[in-house]
Symmetry: D2
Subunit: 480 residues, 4 copies
């Protein structure tokens, strides 16, 4: 198409619109601009064409199209796809949306028979199908990347996992933990994220064959279509098939939950990269400088991953607000859903990749973290437990341990540095054994409950993670 | 407790706080007020007590408590529960939260041994468990109510389903459908809602035994606890167990999606109850009047169900914003999650119940809806199809049908009322058969694709719905 | 820039980065992609250049640059702007953001002196300024369009305003009103929207001169910069100047509120365009058809305006979630704000324009609306008032009027059609005067309270609206 | 009311409902429960009564009520208010909402004349008025508390302001600043928050007199009502007056923006209270301990303030979603707005108070923060500027400074500790003056631009803040 003819072609395109029968005037340009989805729904082309090919094949199998028609349409659709993939398939100004664009181009290629691709369907069920196929790929893509990130985290847990650091609650040093224990928390969260992505398919029902809302005048073989497109269920009711947005809402929620997981990890990258914490350094390749402050090394990527989580929750709220109170079946409002879906898909993939890379290249600083754990009185719970074993009530033991911490803080000492006579002033129960108890390794080794931070329990967790990652990878189809 | 002594008791309560060892001053009253969760987390008491009983039993089974202690604690907990159920267990001003309140009361009943209930756990994993148990009940309750609503809708579809009405897109009359077809759309949506509620359990992992974040110094039998409390999985990592909020976020999303389903149904109740549509009347018992307009009969309940959907999406956004960027493990911010969860639980139950009642008592008006379908030219697609069968291209047929509608609208006629000579002016292909084609029953019967609105296909849908409802009911445990 | 050299230039561009001193490795490509804001912040170029020119002039006035430097930089910046406006100023792969792109191009044009444009500022205060200028234009643009829409509505109120229609509450016919009364409700809402857009300036404080966060080493004349750029206030504190996002949040909220106003109007266009209501028809130029249903005329534009309101609330929530809990001063998360701001600006302009056009071209149908008002018993309140004047208590009068409506509905009569004897069965107070009372014109004329729907009060409202529109137009600067 | 009679009274209450004329059945209990707003709208009672008194007075002034009626009603309303204030005015089960409850109680007190309070109004405009009055008080209350917090911050800036600390961007140490400079950033943010609260009144238009939506049959003196209730404007259009929610949306947005301001301050309290930062300690009275970790001192209050910001954005999104697409005039959905408004009002007051207290009692640790600034190479920008003054281009100077930082970091030295020969290896321009330049005091003193962190500029800011606080305090009415 020559750009300088677009205005003219536009008008003729409009006069050509399939639904022009009842209309006498062309559409207002502003209306056209408001209405046009082609600028963003082009991304659906491969799904649209794939669905059309299966639809055409099915129409052949039930005798609505003859074999020749099926062949011509199929190879025509293949050509449109090829053109799309090489970038040679631009939309035109007259194309209202990607569905119209594909059908127009198909008809240019194969002639009037191209129109038969639309037999027994409407754009309502067609776009519903496209979106289901798109979202299925999206969830697989996210799952694949999340699994890759889990492998990275597991790898770091195996390689650097003996690093001791303070475990925090309320951002106060709470109890010493192994870095591996901390990293495995994210592995567990991501495992659930992956499972949620995979479970999304349970909400995905094959909509094609619903027509506009009432079904169509052909006894379509919808099960065949579902099978060939890999759906487990057919949407039983035609109106539901075109009107529902629950699978889209579930997708956005699932993506948002995963984005929140990543945002927490990202916040820890930001924190640990501060000079104050100093547990981690990102290399130059994942840091930014400042145009005026020469000393700066900023963890921009982590901040962006953290920030982007805010977009997900907004889009999720938007789709709920969009669908809320809409009468059946289809209303044009719903066209907006694609903006939310496409943005969440694109951004989540990027965030997952970025965290994967950051956690791969990050350098940890065990000396800093160990000394923080030591200085945090993070052994105080174990001191209390030790006094309980000496016969005190937990309540009394807790208090004495609290007073001990207060005393140590006042003196600027660690717990290991406290003298036995000072301990004895607090309680006669203290003895030499105390110095074994407050060793960080001892505190950690004592966390013997399943899921605890003792090396044995962490080892168990790593074996389990290894196994679950492999299982989940097996559930995923190979990337297209 | 006597109210006039509360200020004094408060202080002594504070001095009594378990963690007072390192503290010299009592808490500021404003801080206390900000911090206190007892006003709303009392609702967790039954779950807290149930968890504690299982925890105590497990401690017995691994030898940390002796048999006598287990018995004393168990029957003490039973007594606290009984007091709660009769309303005789009020919180006190000194109780920071429901966990502290239960433990305090338990100790009042059984003496100092009561403190042993807290052996091998912290409030972090304890509240995490309570919330999981609460949400499991919540999802069952929603599923149960949604199934009841599905039965109501199915019943109406069976009883009133032959009513013909316009199916709408863009709120314009599109194609005639059966009321049953329309109602079954909601049955399908609710089916997915129910499945989502049931699937929530896949994200629910038993957290107890995680301690504060690092595990505890006892080799707890967490599998036993999980089994007795009906969990399928144990949270493998202690930090994840206390820090994660994904199951809560998933719950809110799932509730929000269901609330949107209901809001759409509610909007149709509002629309159909207008004098303009007139397809439905709610009885007096589900209508409100006006303090100044004597003629008014307002569908307030439907409006409230529609409106309440807005609260769900806000709470969902809030929890995502709350959790976003929080470093591990627990931060106090997360206490706010309960406000969102409890509100969504309570409101969704109420909305589901209300829709169930409204759809039970509503009266339909088939004459109004039939005449709307007739007047809406909703047969125009079938006229086009008929012309295609006469040999026209769909494109041409669509146009002629469009012109026919324009002509009929101009004359104020229905399609059935058009004269054959006028039809022939539009296309020579029209013949007497046209008058059969444009009968509403014929149009409906022609929608033979699976999931379509033809009586046969609707019958299929009803049988399938009957089956699926029964199956889903079977998956649910009996209500407690 | 030659495209085929971009990969290579990229690397050298990176090595060239101003802040490369402490860095040994180039940035990771994925990091670059995540980080790059140029794809969307190009839109800020005119504001960036305008701010730079004023900054340069100020540096001249305080003697930091000499007159020659000021001239060279100023004309260089003019050239960059000219290139931008003709599309001849593309960003390059090495440009991190629009600020870097402008400075790079400036330096290509004027040589090394170009670097002096950055004297006494950082990108933090520079982008803060750009956004303030952008948002000021955005609010003016919205205000201008909203005023245009107010004029359209006022024009329709003047031209078609005598049309009688039912006023609704709960979507039930409540009391008869004039169409003009209804349209003027939106004029009032839009008036407040416009005032909010204008008030936004009170939250806009000139940030330049804050440097990165601490101020800079020059005694800048910030008041001069503020004056030349049309700000009323200078941000007093440098840290606040770069860190705050409240003006951006207020902008999004203000846009969202206006979008909700439009969504309500849009919903009424959808409703009124139904065959059921039938009060309005949009012409072909603002309607869409269906690819399969020849009779369809869909109000797509109104549906999209309604739907787009959902995007605004999501973006508003996102910016709050993004900023929430961010420590001072600047964090990279905040870069995301521009995505929300730019989308809301673009979409609101489009929605305002679209509503303006729709309300211009819509055709009203007074016969349909009058008969709906008649059939809605919307005079019942006035019947009660009439009985009160006859001496009944309001309570009793309300009941009798309610019974009258019930009787009329049962008989399918309007209130005017009821026979006097039937009235007298309900209350002996009824007399012939009743028939004057229930005339729609009489009911409307009786609403004599200020702001009421009586023609006199509506006339007052129209005069007031005329005046306020003119005043608000005067407050706006001429469009650039 | 005796509780055990409530069920019975309920029925008779229902039969008594004003609008029972057209109704034959009582309302369903579930419907009642869904519908009832009394559980939460009781809080409006004082506003409702105040509005009613002014309404009654106005009805007297225009001759609709006689002087005796006005007196009786006024003193009756005073009695209801007195009962409310002492807690002796409980709602009853039959009261649909607070308006009905007040009118019922009034009628119990003064007899049938009580019904006349409702002359010339409906519940639609009545509740609209109540909410406007409530929100005006809410905004004043927030402004008052925010000003108090500003005073606290200013006081700390004056008392502890010479403390040197690192200013951060990306949570990396950027440039040294004074604590006072940092605290004053929040003073500026809060100033805009206060101005926004005060500006809210521009969106508040007196709605009473709108009736249900069409005005009423009395020539009310609405200006009188507005004047007596302190409104600057009367809502001109009756439909707008009952339907609009923009002032409520603006309120929620304004509260949300302020909550975000507080959340950022709260996040810094959390960060600064960590052992890693160590710039601040909260006293015992504003810290929590742990039930198992004796050493813990958690900044729970700050975490809650930070977390609560998430609720505000959710409620804001909810109200937009609630109002979106609602046709005029009133729909019952809108009743839900009060839940959002009341929660935001209550929570924001609490958060403002809590931050005020925390900032009053916090202890700062200048040694920690000074040494952090020293160790952060935060003087690097000034080193570059110094080299520029020696004749290098900024670009070259920035690089050398960057290399210097890299070298210092490698050696674990501060910038002051570097030897001159090492400096000269990097650039021959370095001389003894370097050691003056890198003094923290010198770096800070050099930030001479207005709004900068140099003591002189900070002094200016404090004087300006003092002035603005006093001015804003003067704009506020005295608390009721």
């Amino acid at each position: 198409m020559e750009p300088n003819k677009s205005a003219h072609k536009k008008d003729s395109a409009q006069n050509d619109r399939l639904w022009a029968g009842r209309f006498n005037q062309p559409q207002d340009m502003l209306f056209d601009r408001l209405n046009a989805s082609l600028p963003y729904d082009r991304i659906l082309a491969p799904y649209d064409i794939r669905g059309s090919k299966v639809h055409v094949g099915m129409l052949g199998s039930i005798g609505v199209l003859d074999g020749k028609e099926v062949d011509v349409l199929t190879s025509g659709l293949d050509q449109v796809l090829a053109e799309y993939e090489t970038g040679a398939f631009p939309g035109e100004a007259g194309d209202e949306d990607i569905h119209m664009a594909v059908e127009r181009r198909l008809t240019e290629i194969v002639g009037p028979v191209g129109g038969k691709v639309h037999t027994g369907r409407s754009r309502n069920d067609q776009v519903a199908l496209d979106v289901q196929l798109y979202l299925r790929d999206a969830t697989y893509g996210h799952a694949r990347r999340a699994l890759r990130l889990m492998r990275v985290l597991l790898g770091r847990a195996q390689a650097d996992g003996e690093m001791i650091m303070p475990g925090y609650t309320h951002l106060q040093r709470a109890q010493p933990v192994l870095l591996s224990h901390h990293l495995l928390a994210y592995v567990s969260m991501l495992e659930r994220d992956v499972r949620r992505f995979l479970r999304w398919r349970d909400s995905s029902w094959m909509p094609l064959g619903a027509g506009a809302l009432a079904g169509v005048n052909y006894a379509l073989d919808r099960e065949l279509v579902a099978r060939e497109l890999g759906f487990e269920r057919v949407a039983l009711n035609a109106m539901d098939a075109v009107a529902a947005r629950d699978a889209a809402m579930e997708y956005l929620a699932t993506a948002s939950i995963c984005a929140v997981t990543l945002s927490r990890m990202a916040d820890e990258v930001v924190l640990w990269s501060t000079q104050e914490f100093g547990y981690m350094t990102l290399p130059d390749s994942w840091s930014s400088g400042s145009s005026i402050m020469p000393q700066k090394r900023n963890p921009d990527a982590a901040e962006l991953v953290r920030g982007k989580a805010a977009g997900f929750l907004g889009r999720e709220a938007s789709l709920a607000a969009l669908s809320k109170g809409l009468p059946l079946a289809y209303s044009k409002d719903l066209q907006e859903d694609k903006l939310y879906l496409f943005a969440s898909q694109r951004e989540l993939d990027m965030c997952l990749d970025a965290m994967g890379e950051m956690m791969t290249v990050a350098e940890f600083h065990p000396d800093r973290s160990r000394s923080a754990a030591e200085g945090g009185y993070a052994q105080a719970t174990d001191v209390a437990d030790y006094l309980v074993r000496k016969g005190l009530s937990f309540r009394k033991a807790h208090r004495i341990s609290g007073r001990l911490v207060a005393l140590a803080a006042e003196r600027g000492s660690t717990l290991s540095e406290m003298r036995l006579e000072d301990l004895r002033d607090l309680s006669a129960q203290f003895d030499e054994q105390y110095y074994d108890i407050v060793k960080l390794e001892a505190v950690i080794a004592a966390k013997v409950s399943p899921g605890g931070t003792s090396p044995r329990r962490v080892e168990e967790q790593m074996l389990a993670a290894e196994k679950v990652i492999a299982e989940l990878e097996d559930e995923l189809p190979a990337p297209a």
